[in-house]
Amino acid sequence: MNILIKNGHIIDPANKVDGKFDLLVSDGKTAKLGKTGSLSSSGVEVIDAVGKLVVPGLIDMHVHLREPGFEYKETIFTGTDAARAGGFTSICCMPNTNPVNDNRSITEFILSQARAASARVYPIGAITKGSKGEELAEMGELHQAGCVAVSDDGKPVMSAAIMRRAMEYSKIFDMLIISHCEDSSLSAKGVMHEGMVSTELGLRGIPAAAEDVMTARDLSLAELTGCRLHIAHVSTAGSVRMIRDAKARGIRVTAETCPHYFTLTEEAVRGYNTMAKMNPPLRTADDVAAIKQGLKDGTLDVIATDHAPHAADEKSGEFDQAPFGIVGLETALGLTLKLVDEGVLTLAGAIKKLSTNPAALIKRDAGSLSEGAVADITIIDPELAWTVDASTFKSKSKNTPFNGWKLKGKAVQTIVGGK
């Protein structure tokens, strides 16, 4: 089936396209880009995208799909439905399932479930067996089975020696290493950022240094080994500064942050709000400003969600006991467009962080509207004002701190492989 998307504002940073064009999709591929009105509409389905943005499908390289093992929180089906509702055509799923995705059979299970899912799923394998930080997982098998990166996300690889060996070994496959930067001896039993608010609330703190010392270590190890390092969910000014410096010195490093780290501060925890409990924790206003600056100057390459579904029962109760994490797939685009409104990012800059850059990191056919590329396309109404209502989320879990927020801009159509 062929589709003609007419009259839209096409933004395709990979091809430096930013203007009014028509786009023809043929047999699931992007077939042709032409001046508005120049492409024949006979025999094709026409989508009138006047007033809309037409962009390469969004890619979220940091998602927890919870299947296998925690299907009561999320499944591959519900997670991809949430992705599609939020404008994401591809998502990368972290390996902290049960069992952990540290071997080919789990990767193959995820991929087989994903065949009937509504968005593309690219698994991320574990760095170490069981993500225990002790022995390397079989990275070659994971790579061959289809993993786009390795990470022990949710846990740090505490041994610098093991991390060093993982980085060296990854060079066989030029595999991306995604690091969850946290020194667990410093974060210890902390439940929120260590600062004024944790002091007042009497909650155990996680100092910014718990993230920063690990960022420093992994940047040093990346320099030593020459691997491709990607720093996950950057939340501190210190990490932004060190990554900026490392990039300037030519170290192969990229980094992501999440919408909550450029939108909220530790203040959101007041009232013992478990929806504001995540790891790394929400930091200070100074950190938020540094994250925005890092996005603006390119230090932070990617906006990912760290979509972490948890059941309502788990997220209620004592703050200490609630699990870390929030869902993000259905609010990320609206929160990112706020940055465009604030002048932190251009529209094209936002699409780079949400599609072009993550596509390049995972090395898959995605993130561009080049002729012959898979037709993964997101159509965004940038003016659509809407109110976040978690009860309508496609995700199985509703744990968001943004419920009731008024946002502007939403994906109105998400096309995966021309459908």
Binding site: M196, T199, G317, D320
Partner: protein
């Protein structure tokens, strides 16, 4: 005048008028415990539940006696005998207790914010009997009551709180309360036990006990949890006692007749020497006053109006 809120969760946010109301009301109730028949009918027919998720002798007994002296029916629940061991959630436990009809639930919990969490979901009045490192409001009220009783007024007085400030709910409640009542507050302890940003609450931070104690009107010693040594917060009891312990020599640096206080239980020879502990009547006065304060809080939260003197 009466208290407008349903619950007592924290000293932070209370006005000087509200604190004064509780202290004044406690003064009238203090007499009750001195009588031969230690009972008034203020809460007759009401049910009060002590829901304690942490071990406690002093505070639980104090609340129990306070309720009984007000003629309430008081039930004690501690974790070892409750369905918590069967995995029931905090809210389920509390809602079940409320379904049996009670007016007041007194909660002690290791997690900061647990009483606030319950208060938003229960019709009963919730009294915080200590939550994590957050607050212990009735302890601060009884401390302020004791200081006011001995010093006449809190305004303009200087109080030092010494020890493990970071892990102390007593310290936080007292800092908020004393500052609200116009006192000056010093905190003293090793930097490893000083919470981030504590000075921004309005307290002055000291690491030198001799300087911290100089000229103060009251000294509030905190209990040292000995297991903090394993976490690297202090090198050993001997050095801790030398640097931060209260002894006779150090006590001389304070104002004449300065009050020596301790919320208990004491580590004799660690944060306080035995001769100092035994040389002051104030520590036991605190315990006596605790019952009066808790009677006042229960009375006022149940809608009572302070009787005119």
């Amino acid at each position: 005048m009466s208290l407008s809120s349903k619950d007592l969760l924290a000293i932070k946010g209370m006005t000087a008028d509200e604190i004064t109301l509780i202290l004044d009301t406690a003064a009238t109730f203090k007499n009750v415990s001195e009588r031969d028949i230690k009972k008034v009918p203020a809460l007759r027919g009401k049910t009060v539940i002590n829901l304690f998720y942490e071990a406690s002798t002093r505070t639980r007994t104090s609340f129990e006696l306070a309720g009984k002296r007000l003629s309430a029916d008081v039930i004690n629940i501690s974790t070892s005998t409750s369905s918590v061991v069967k995995g029931e959630t905090l809210l389920d436990t509390a809602q079940n207790l409320e379904a049996m009809k009670c007016e007041m639930i007194i909660v002690r919990h290791a997690s900061s914010g647990a009483p606030e969490y319950l208060s938003k979901r229960l019709k009963s009045s919730v009294i915080n009997a200590g939550d994590g490192f957050h607050e212990h409001p009735t302890q601060a009220l009884l401390d302020m009551f004791t200081m006011r009783e001995k010093l006449g007024s809190l305004a303009g007085k200087t109080v030092v709180i010494a020890g493990d400030i970071a892990h102390s709910r007593v310290a936080r409640s007292n800092i908020h309360g004393l500052l609200t009542m116009g006192a000056k507050v010093r905190v003293c302890g090793p930097p490893t036990m000083m919470p981030t940003g504590i000075e921004r609450l309005g307290a002055t931070v000291y690491y030198d006990m001799d300087k911290a104690i100089e000229g103060v009107d009251a000294i509030m010693m905190l209990r040292l949890q000995l297991e903090r040594q394993a976490a690297g917060l202090f090198p050993g009891v001997r050095e801790y006692a030398r640097l931060f312990g209260l002894n006779q020599a150090r006590l001389k640096l304070a104002a004449k007749n300065a009050l020596v206080m301790h919320p208990g239980p004491m580590n004799r020879g660690v944060e306080i020497s035995s001769d100092v502990a035994d040389g002051t009547p104030v520590i036991l006065d605190q315990v006596t006053n605790g019952v009066a304060i808790r009677m006042a809080v229960m009375f006022l939260l149940s809608g009572g109006v302070k009787p005119e003197a």
